[in-house]
């Protein structure tokens, strides 16, 4: 990937160089202004951001009031007050999936693909009689990445905060059945992935690119040889590897123009109490990557399903998952508090998107933000209704400032609507649980 910084070649503009000059506490510095005006001349593209948090919400404290004109936000959504005219809150959607492999938190893998997990024994621990494998189908972000993500250096970017080891719980994005895509939980690694090359001169970049291509040539040859020899069940693994190599190689020919964000003082991203800092760092980098055309599709997973993060910064020292399993009033209040904190993170994202001017408006006007949760309610493990908040106008495709209660409708219809909003009206069903009823009525 060749990169050009708007401020010209920036020698050594790696995070390590930035870190030396910053003694401040481990907080992200504002990115704004993000870009010089001249790079914004091109017509803005529509972007998709999927946000996922865990362990359910408290529906009665989440559900807003709507009189047909104006939204009156609920306690949990109150941090979004400055953005309420940019929101569409969706209620009454869920799955009808009771049998089959996998249960409860594991169904986080269904959130964005509307497809049950595979049969298998990778996750035999789910419940006594419902062992399962990885997620069973492509997620909506990856589907759209295949459609509208091919012109950008990265078809999509997956950000994470504290997701831990590879597990059904810690993956929300799938390239296809049994093809989980790991999020990058380390903001510093993400920085290197996105921005490390911006500090290099054209000559250095050219050399790096040529060397990578030479190595990839040999690696691809080796993969092809191995592919022909392995058993058919293993061949899929080598094919996926080849496909990844191909994408990385293609990226070497792309260009983007970005301002390199500042990361502040380096912290341990895995420490429990780093959670809020990592969340902000990831959001900052996501906004920059979208703004400067590194990708059009991004997702962020705030801790795995069944997350055990301790929200110490809110004064909550018990593990999130344990609180969610507690039906007492104080615990319910704490779950509301946690969800309110996540709403504030969403608000921070929206604010950052609004800070980027685009055309006559801001980047938020050309973006569709979707915030969902793996469960409706942690106490019952119910998945109906999935709490869903949309934000942004997706280039005018979405009318905002609304609350829609679908009563008892299917989540798959929502996934169809997402594709339609993102410029794919020809999509009429999504996921294997789809009942052929098309997009949601009244959303678009």
């Amino acid at each position: 990937m060749t990169h050009r910084s708007t401020t010209g070649p920036r020698r050594g503009a790696s995070r390590r160089n930035f870190l030396g000059g910053l003694g401040a506490a481990g907080v992200a510095l504002p990115l704004i202004p993000l870009l010089e005006p001249e790079v914004l001349a091109a017509p803005p593209a529509t972007r998709l951001i999927l946000l996922t948090s865990a362990n359910g919400t408290i529906h009665e404290q989440w559900k807003p009031e709507f009189d047909g004109n104006a939204l009156a936000l609920s306690p949990i959504l109150s941090p979004l007050e400055p953005h309420k005219n940019d929101l569409v809150v969706l209620d009454g959607l869920g799955w009808r999936y009771d049998d089959g492999p996998g249960v409860d938190h594991m169904r986080i893998c269904m959130l964005w693909n509307g497809t049950p997990m595979l049969a298998g024994n990778e996750f035999q621990n789910s419940t006594g009689d419902k062992p399962c494998g990885w997620g069973g189908g492509i997620t909506v972000d990856q589907f759209l990445a295949g459609q509208i993500g091919q012109e950008t250096p990265f078809a999509s970017l997956e950000f994470g905060v504290h997701n831990g080891n590879a597990h059904l719980y810690s993956r929300v994005s799938y390239a296809g059945p049994n093809q989980p895509i790991p999020p990058e939980d380390d903001p510093y690694a993400m920085f290197d992935r996105l921005f490390a090359e911006f500090g290099q001169s054209e000559a250095e970049l050219g050399r790096l690119r040529a060397r990578r291509k030479s190595v990839i040539d040999v690696v691809r040859g080796n993969l092809t040889t191995v592919q022909a020899k392995v058993a058919s069940a293993d061949r899929l693994k080598i094919e996926a590897h080849l496909d990844a190599v191909r994408k990385i190689e293609q990226r070497l020919d792309t260009t983007a123009t970005c301002e390199v964000p500042l990361l502040g003082k380096q912290i341990d991203p895995d420490a429990n109490d780093s959670f809020p800092v990592v969340s902000r760092l990831q959001i900052d980098m996501m906004v920059m990557a979208l703004a400067c055309g590194l990708t059009r599709i991004a997702s962020l997973l705030w801790a795995r399903a069944g997350s055990n993060v301790r929200y110490n910064w809110l004064g909550l020292s018990t593990e999130h998952h344990s609180i969610a399993h507690d039906s007492s009033d104080p615990a319910r209040a704490q779950i509301a508090q946690i969800n309110t904190w996540h709403a504030a993170e969403v608000a921070y994202l929206l604010e950052a998107l609004k800070a980027v001017p685009e055309g006559d408006g801001t980047m938020l006007d050309n973006t569709l933000v979707v915030w969902g949760n793996e469960l409706a309610d942690g106490w019952t493990h119910s998945q109906h209704p999935t709490p869903l908040v949309l934000a942004g106008r997706a280039g005018g495709a979405l009318t905002t400032g609304r609350y829609l209660d679908f009563g008892d409708d299917r989540h798959n219809r929502f996934l169809v609507s997402l594709c339609n909003i993102m410029g794919m009206p020809e999509v009429t069903s999504f996921g294997t649980l789809d009942e052929g009823t098309g997009a949601l009525d009244g959303l678009v």
């Binding site: 020899k229 069940a233 507690d326």
Partner: protein, 595 residues
């Protein structure tokens, strides 16, 4: 309200068979357990809502079959235990190196220490053990491999003279070719094919033309480290001419494949020169020769890495590195203490298996340990002035004996501010008895009861006994977990809790010892050491660790042999490891597709 403790986020449960567990009748749960020599049906209390989820035995198809049709440790063909008519093995999925395998391998290969794999996405697990056996690699991971390889290759240029076996100044091109040949053997863990050699030499020459020898060197090292022959455990068997049709044929592994199986099993890393030499000379072709190599390898310090790796995962200590505690409840808990806890378990297990008698009983009952400085205070021991952590020290046998009383185990299986009979009980039930439990139903409280100065932990968990909806499963869990009540949330010994004397009496419900009751974790360790359930479980755990996959029906004969050898050795884990490398499951592979 009364609140109860459930283990959160049960992603660590322990499936052990490559087969679907039986459908369990929620009312009457009968769990089949292949105890030593005799298959026993273990009737579990009838009220556990969905009971034990897996079992150890040949129950793959037989959800409805009772244990009674088990004929003891006989193979499917009816042959007596330990004798296998024809080579039989279950299918091994293609596996990618785990993070620790990657780190150890590049360290051996390039002399670069550290944990470069920290920059690579986390591993999948099979059972309790890391193994990348299922999901294909994602683009992110391939990119991570690329970046890590670039950094490693760059770092290795500092070692150029040590890594390159020839004069690269006098004859850079000739030396480059020599390097490719020698390094290629070690990186791909077998001799290069002519095509591989040609491609790598061409790449070297390209780099050399661009920037001299070091430039060619780094390009080649990157290409090796990013190639599938390095990143995957590739195994084709002895008939390389045959394409891997999905024939279901069982084929012998070739010598180099066996060398890699040995090294990753016993060292968690690549083969050394002696193993490569043995492979080149075809000296790994009999079980006895494999055993001889394994004996040599167990005597090598590198075996400590694999033994540590096994125990950290078996005992679910892989999360210890990030364990955090409530600073008010446990002000002495620190990263240094945490690291010392991990080091103790790793050193102790290694010492028992490689330097002491190797017996499972010793692992579970020995009242000595190998301690880093921070643990002396926690264990209330005086530290000798000239203490060396590599030298065993005697512990107070009334307070500490065996793995179950290690602070690592006790602190990991506890809450941030208190002990956890439930976590500890589940841990013993699943990881030592190999009886996975179903997670709690969703609509129950799993927050541990509030600390109460007027109530002991046992009293606070009373509802688990009194409430029938809890009792079914918790009768399997809590009587084990209460046995650990002499140890607080970071593993410090205590005789009372807020002035109330500790009651650490318990029972291995459904256990197979003559007496399943015990008082305290030390007696629990003694009971478990005599349990055939535990012995079979340990063999099973090593099997899963060693093969990076679940055990399937095709492995029955091999597994029977393992248990025989384990028993005949007095349950010496060292002998168990040697027995594993002699089995058909180790020496053969099955060529089979999945889909």
């Amino acid at each position: 309200m009364s609140r109860l403790g459930h283990p959160p986020n049960q992603d660590y449960l322990v499936p052990l068979l490559a087969t679907r567990p039986p459908k369990v009748d929620p009312q009457v749960v009968s769990v089949e357990v292949r105890a030593w020599g005799v298959a026993a049906a273990l009737a579990i209390l009838p009220s556990c809502y969905s009971g034990l989820v897996g079992s150890d035995g040949h129950d793959s198809q037989g959800a409805t079959e009772d244990a009674g049709d088990e004929g003891g440790p006989a193979s499917e063909s009816g042959a007596p235990a330990g004798v296998c008519d024809e080579p039989s093995v279950d299918t091994s999925p293609l596996r990618r190196l785990t993070r620790s395998q990657y780190d150890n391998t590049v360290s051996d290969l390039l002399g670069v220490a550290g944990t470069p794999s920290a920059a690579i996405a986390s591993d999948e697990k099979v059972g309790a053990f890391f193994s990348n056996a299922s999901a294909p690699v994602a683009e992110l991971i391939v990119e991570q491999y690329m970046r890590v390889a670039e950094e490693l290759a760059q770092t290795a240029t500092a070692n150029l003279d040590a890594l390159v076996p020839c004069d690269h100044v006098a004859d850079p091109l000739g030396c480059g070719a020599t390097f490719v040949e020698a390094f290629g053997l070690r990186a791909f863990r077998r001799p290069l094919t002519p095509d591989e050699r040609t491609a790598m030499i061409a790449l070297f020459e390209l780099g050399h033309a661009e920037g001299g020898f070091a430039s060619g060197f780094t390009l080649v090292v990157e290409a090796f480290l990013e190639s599938p022959q390095f990143l995957y455990h590739l195994e084709f068997g002895l008939e390389p001419e045959l394409p891997a049709t999905d024939s279901g044929d069982v084929v012998a592994l070739d010598s180099f494949e066996l060398a890699s199986r040995l090294s990753y099993f016993l060292w968690d890393s690549m083969p050394d020169d002696a193993l490569f030499d043995a492979a080149s000379a075809d000296e790994l072709d009999t079980p006895q020769r494999l055993r001889a190599q394994a004996e040599r390898m167990l005597a090598d310090p590198r075996a400590a890495a694999a033994i540590a790796n096994f125990h950290m995962q078996w005992l679910r200590l892989d999360k210890l590195a990030e364990l955090e505690k409530n600073a008010t409840a446990y002000p002495t808990f620190s990263p240094e203490l945490r690291a010392a806890m991990a080091a103790e378990t790793a050193r102790f297990a290694d010492h028992v298996i490689r330097f002491d008698d190797g017996r499972l009983e010793t692992l579970l009952t020995a009242s000595y340990s190998l301690l880093d400085e921070p643990l002396f205070a926690l264990y209330q021991l005086e530290r000798p002035a000239d203490h060396d952590p590599a030298i065993p020290v005697e512990l107070d046998p009334s307070q500490r004996a065996g793995l179950l009383t290690h602070a690592s185990v006790l602190a990991t299986h506890a809450h941030a501010d208190q002990s956890s009979p439930v976590h500890r009980g589940v841990f013993v039930r699943e990881n030592l008895l190999c009886q996975p439990l179903a997670p709690p139903p969703p609509d129950v409280d799993v927050v541990p009861p509030e600390l109460d100065p007027n109530a002991s932990t046992r009293e606070r968990f009373e509802r688990h006994r009194s409430d029938p909806s809890c009792n079914g499963c918790h009768s399997l869990i809590d009587p084990l977990g209460f046995g650990f009540e002499h140890y607080d949330g970071i593993g410090a010994f205590r005789t009372d809790e807020g002035g109330k004397p500790i009651d650490a009496s318990g029972e291995v419900v459904g256990g197979d010892a003559p007496d399943n009751t015990f008082d305290g974790a030390i007696e629990l360790g003694q009971r478990l050491a005599q349990s055939e359930l535990v012995r079979t479980c340990v063999a099973q755990q090593w099997f899963v660790y060693g093969f990076g996959r679940l055990r399937g029906e095709g492995d029955d004969c091999s597994f029977d042999q393992l248990r025989t050898s384990f028993a005949e050795s007095g349950h010496n884990v060292r002998e168990l490891l040697l027995a594993i490398v002699m089995t058909d499951s180790f020496r053969y592979r099955r060529i089979e597709g999945g889909q």
